[in-house]
Amino acid sequence: MMRTVNIILIGGMMAGAGVVYFLKYEAEHATTRVAQLSRQIQQEREAIATLRAEWSLLNQPKRLQEMADRYHTYLELEPLDPNQVATLDDIPFRQVMPDGGTAGGKGPERLFAGVKPIEHTGTIRKSTDRVGKTDKPEPKGVDPKPNDLLNTIIR
């Protein structure tokens, strides 16, 4: 009787020792991994900081201006003129042909077709204001397509 109990106890003890050893080993392994990862994170952060510094170095307005000047003949980039700034109020609708824009051929052919486009006043902003107010967004004489398009853009 005592013998079996002893054997069980010894077995249990050995198993316990084994498990503890295993756990200890695992924990050590995990600790090393944690240290390794945090070192790696640190390195990555430093690398990010360095890259950010480099990015802002390359993006300095001064440098960009020098580049724009140097490649001016090729890129033809000019400073913005106040006349080039516009709002939606300043953009008129595309002129619509009486038959929906298909008659009279395409492209340059249309120029010779002699069909006058329908004149309508109003701008995109005014139209979108109307779109916002009523469920029927199509004023007369206006091509429904740009309105639908705007609807999807605005909503």
Partner: protein, 576 residues
């Protein structure tokens, strides 16, 4: 050890079994000897238990302490304190920390000094210097050989494998913009401690140096600080004043852009400036920050504040007229006009023709005390309350008198910094609220909490009208940009040389706001000692400082989301 312990145990056990048999025969002395022996054994056992217990305890302690140990090692590597990044209002980097390696030696551990120097100099030629040999032979525990080496040099030295030579990673401050915003951002010393500008301010504010001395190094835990500067606007201002400085051969130039509603400094540049990556330049003469740390007699731009004072006092209205004929004499001194009209001028005319006599008469109507109080209110008698450590106290006459009041009305006899001038314009453009300028982002609500009403809203409206008028038909026409409605006041001051005003040395400025129908930004451009261009002939502010402002506004207005408008009625001179 176990074997030894059991062996030891067997001894007393055997003795104990034999003891009772021998006890009756040998008598009392024998018995007491055995008891003494047992006590001794017990003491020995206790001793061993204590020793092994201590060893086991220490093992457990070390086992638990493991990871902490490696952390302290990591922290020791960082030598100079990490600093928070400085960003502009859009998140662009103005200053950041990058890691660099520094080379050190432990001379006691170096086996052969000559060999070490020979090897090192194959990578770093300056290691051949006698001072290096001296350091290495000194037998000290630790010496720096070279701070801030490149990663490539580090790699090559590492490969040499010289004993007693090592590297330490250090934080190094890096300013990608170079001199771009040097006078705002400031710079640090070799230990990464802020010694100028906002760098110094954040050190003082966060006690970074104290923390570092205590050994608390919160690496990367520092939150980036957002400045009010806009990098793009800053570049434009610097670029344009540099161009003007060159074109008019000025010795120095200043450009400032302030947000009228929040007091934020959108751009501030003072030329010549320096590259904070090379802080030694900052010590050179002439490279001081003229925008906040220099005081100057600003000249006619002061007629702006004089007009505001007169209109705000209620004693002068826009329809009033003053005699600007001849001159105004105070004892031996005489005030005369540069662009003399020699007739009676209305208040708007005094402003646009920049009449010294008219301005002096307006100031006299308010009185020296009224002028003193008004200048105190708009900050001309104190340092600017802002984050920058480099701020100067204005100079003003300590005794109130009519003559000094008259000269101050057109900006002579009182010296303030350009930033004072720009900041004092804020209330004249935003409805009367004085807001201290700031270099950190500030919301409208925060600004309103700080704001002090210094002039009436009506006065602000009248000043906008005067600015607009001068921008359209007065001396500031060259500052106007089609669509962006720039209004402002020119200032052409003569500089004092050897105690006298020198007519050939000028201090020119243009103080502007745009868009003038609803001002959003104050722009100030200053040129110190500009020379006339040959074909124009004069060196007045309207010909050099005003076009500089125009060039700045034209480029920054789209960046600052100011929409151009062409449909506004022009300002007219009210007939009286």
């Amino acid at each position: 050890m176990d074997a030894f312990a059991t062996d030891f145990h067997r001894g007393p056990a055997a003795e104990e079994t034999s003891a009772p048999t021998q006890a009756p025969a040998r008598g009392k002395t024998r018995r007491s000897a055995a008891a003494a022996g047992r006590t001794r054994v017990k003491v020995a056992m206790l001793g061993f238990v204590a020793i092994y217990g201590a060893i086991a305890g220490k093992l457990v302690y070390l086992g638990l302490k493991g990871p902490e140990h490696s952390n302290t090692l990591g922290a020791a590597i960082v030598q100079s304190s990490p600093r928070p990044d400085l960003l502009d209002r859009n998140g662009e980097v103005l200053a950041t920390d990058i890691k660099t390696s520094s080379l050190f030696a432990e001379p006691r551990r170096i086996l052969d000094v000559d060999e070490a120097i020979e090897a090192l100099s194959s990578v770093l030629p300056d290691m051949r210097e006698p001072s290096v040999r001296h350091k290495l032979k000194s037998g000290a525990g630790f010496v720096w050989l070279k701070r801030e080496i490149t990663p490539e040099q580090r790699f090559r030295i590492h490969r040499l494998g010289i004993p007693g030579i090592g590297f330490l990673d250090e934080n190094k401050r890096f300013y990608p913009g170079g001199g771009m915003a040097s006078h705002v951002v400031g710079h640090v010393n070799v230990d990464n401690q802020g010694i100028a500008g906002i760098e110094k301010y954040i050190d003082d504010e966060m006690n970074l140096n104290e923390l570092h001395k205590l050994g608390i190094v919160a690496d990367r835990g520092l939150k980036a600080r957002k400045l009010s500067l806009d990098l793009r606007v800053q570049h434009v201002v610097r670029d344009e004043i540099a161009a003007a400085k060159e074109r008019f051969h000025a010795v120095a130039a200043v450009g400032i852009v302030l947000d009228v509603h929040t007091g934020e400094v959108i751009a501030m540049s003072s030329l010549p400036d320096y590259d904070p990556n090379n802080p030694a330049e900052a010590l050179e003469k002439d490279r001081m920050n003229r925008a906040t740390a220099g005081v100057f007699e600003m000249g006619s731009v002061f007629k702006t504040f004089n007009s505001a004072m007169a209109l705000d006092s209620g004693r002068v209205s826009l329809n009033d007229s003053f005699d600007a004929r001849g001159g105004l004499a105070f004892g031996g001194q005489r005030i005369s006009d540069f662009h003399g009209k020699n007739r009676i001028l209305s208040v708007p005319e005094i402003f646009i023709y920049s009449s010294n006599i008219g301005s002096a008469r307006m100031a006299l109507k308010v009185g020296p005390q009224g002028q003193y109080d008004f200048f105190t209110k708009i900050g001309f008698h104190s340092k600017i309350k802002t984050e920058l450590p480099e701020v100067a106290l204005p100079l003003w006459p300590k005794r109130l008198s009519e003559v000094s009041s008259a000269t101050q009305s057109f900006g002579h006899g009182i010296s303030v910094s350009p930033m004072h001038t720009a900041a004092a314009t804020i209330p004249l453009m935003n409805g009367g609220k004085m807001i201290p300028p700031t270099f950190f982002v500030r919301s409208r609500a925060e600004a309103d909490a700080l704001a002090v009403q210094v002039v009436k809203p009506e006065t602000s409206e009248k000043m906008k009208y005067l600015f607009k008028l001068n921008g359209q038909i007065g001396s500031g026409t060259r500052a106007d940009v089609a669509g962006y409605r720039v209004g402002g006041k020119t200032g052409t001051a003569e500089k004092i040389e050897n105690g006298r005003y020198a007519s050939n040395k000028r201090f020119n400025s243009y103080l502007a706001a745009f868009p003038i129908d609803d001002p959003q930004y104050v722009v100030l451009a200053v040129l110190d000692e500009p020379k006339a261009e040959k074909e124009i002939g004069a060196a007045t502010a309207g010909l050099n400082a005003a076009p500089t402002v125009a060039a700045i506004v034209k480029r920054i207005a789209p960046m600052l989301n100011v929409p151009p408008r062409f449909d506004l009625a022009p300002a007219t001179l009210a007939s009286n």
